[in-house]
């Protein structure tokens, strides 16, 4: 972990600069006529959503690795990734309805992408609850949840898609023109860099906690 001690401040610094610059970069995007200012939520919404998905993927892979190899660092990575997925997921679920209210006229819609995001978010929260209240050995159980969670996402998407055939929706997600694409990618990069920094910090905390626990145990023996 010590090899990351210089990387973390660097990543955090870059993230701070990028988030400070983000309003100005977003300002270069054209003003969307029908939605006005609210449309600009989208740039943060997309960044947070992609970060949440990345985090879910990281957790699934780390969980599978932990189940197969029992390496403690894989467990720390999975735990850190889930916590951050809940953090960014909360941002997604707050910014999404704000945008949808203006774009679709409703706060929420049982549409495949929304439903699968919500189910994934619920799974991450369940993971944290299990981790917090499951007692000894809960890291193995939560790893199984992490693995199932990753495998589940495409199925939720399929099942809701099927559901949707009875309830067609006319709204179409806008395709992005270039002046909107640049700020969107800029924000996405800012989110991912922040995520990387937070993930490293959180993993280091978990490793430290494990060390303290081990020290306590050896003291008792």
């Amino acid at each position: 972990m010590t090899s990351h001690s210089r990387l973390v401040p660097l990543l955090l610094g870059v993230a701070v600069v990028m988030f400070a610059a983000a309003p100005f970069v977003i300002d270069t995007a054209p003003y969307e006529s029908s939605m006005g200012l609210v449309q600009r939520i989208f740039y943060f919404h997309l960044g947070a959503a992609m970060t949440m998905l990345t985090s879910g993927l990281v957790c699934g892979i780390a969980s599978a690795r932990y189940l197969a190899k029992r390496s403690a660092s894989a467990d720390h990575l999975a735990y850190a990734a889930v916590e951050l997925a809940v953090l960014f997921g909360t941002m997604v679920l707050v910014t999404g309805p704000l945008w949808a209210r203006k774009a679709w006229g409703v706060w929420w819609d049982w549409e495949p992408r929304l439903t699968s995001t919500l189910v994934m978010y619920m799974l991450f929260v369940a993971y944290l609850l299990l981790r917090r209240f499951g007692g000894a050995g809960s890291e193995v159980l939560s790893a199984a949840i992490g693995l199932f969670g990753m495998a589940l996402v495409p199925f939720v998407y399929i099942s809701v898609n099927l559901w949707r055939t009875l309830h067609p929706k006319t709204s179409v997600l806008p395709t992005l023109p270039k002046p909107m694409l640049v700020p969107a990618l800029f924000c996405l990069a800012a989110f991912l860099i922040l995520y990387w920094a937070l993930l490293l910090i959180r993993m280091r905390m978990e490793a430290a906690r494990a060390e303290i626990d081990a020290a306590y145990l050896s003291l008792e023996d």
Binding site: L123, G134, L141, A143, I145, L152
Partner: protein
Amino acid sequence: MIGVFRAAWIIARKDLLVETRSRELVYTTLFFAVSCVLVFAWAFVREGKPIDNASAGVLWVAIVFSGTLALGRAFERERQSETLRGLLMAPIERAAVYLGKLFALLVLMILVEIVLVPIVALFFHAPIGRAPWLLAGLLVVGTVGFAAVGTLFAAMLVRAQSRDVLLSIVLYPVTVPVVMTGVQGTAAIFAAEPDFGLAQTCLTLLIFFDAVFVTLALWTFAPVMHE
């Protein structure tokens, strides 16, 4: 060392034998499922007329709730007398323990469903005679998907603190696709203008879910139950 399926059958038979002697799970689960339906009937039936398309949802929610109850109890039994350790120490594949438990649970849940379906039909005017085989197929295949995940998580949580609460918390998000597809297919049969094509698509999809869930659960069971 005996074969996986033979060992699984012995475990399932042992569970079913315990159950036929005490009948504890069948009676309690069935009573709970019926009271669920009654609560829904009080909430959703007004002056003898149920609200539209409620029956499929009510049926599946009752199955899922009562299934959760049975799952928790089935493993509580093994924990109380420390017999789970015996099962895990037996010279058989871990997968056999999982399959045996799953099969016994399926028998129990399907028994409950046989009683539950006519009761839902009675209270919610569900036309269960319209496509009985398709309906039975959806229920059985959906129950397999639910129980496949449930057996894995219930086994995992046996030694955890506050396992009953945690089982529900974990189980419902994971079984969302199964329940959603099951409700969708059943509602397509029960609808005023039934769509059997959609129900068949749901059935195919559920079979696909089952294959994935059972495979994943078999793969996860052995490392998770490792002591």
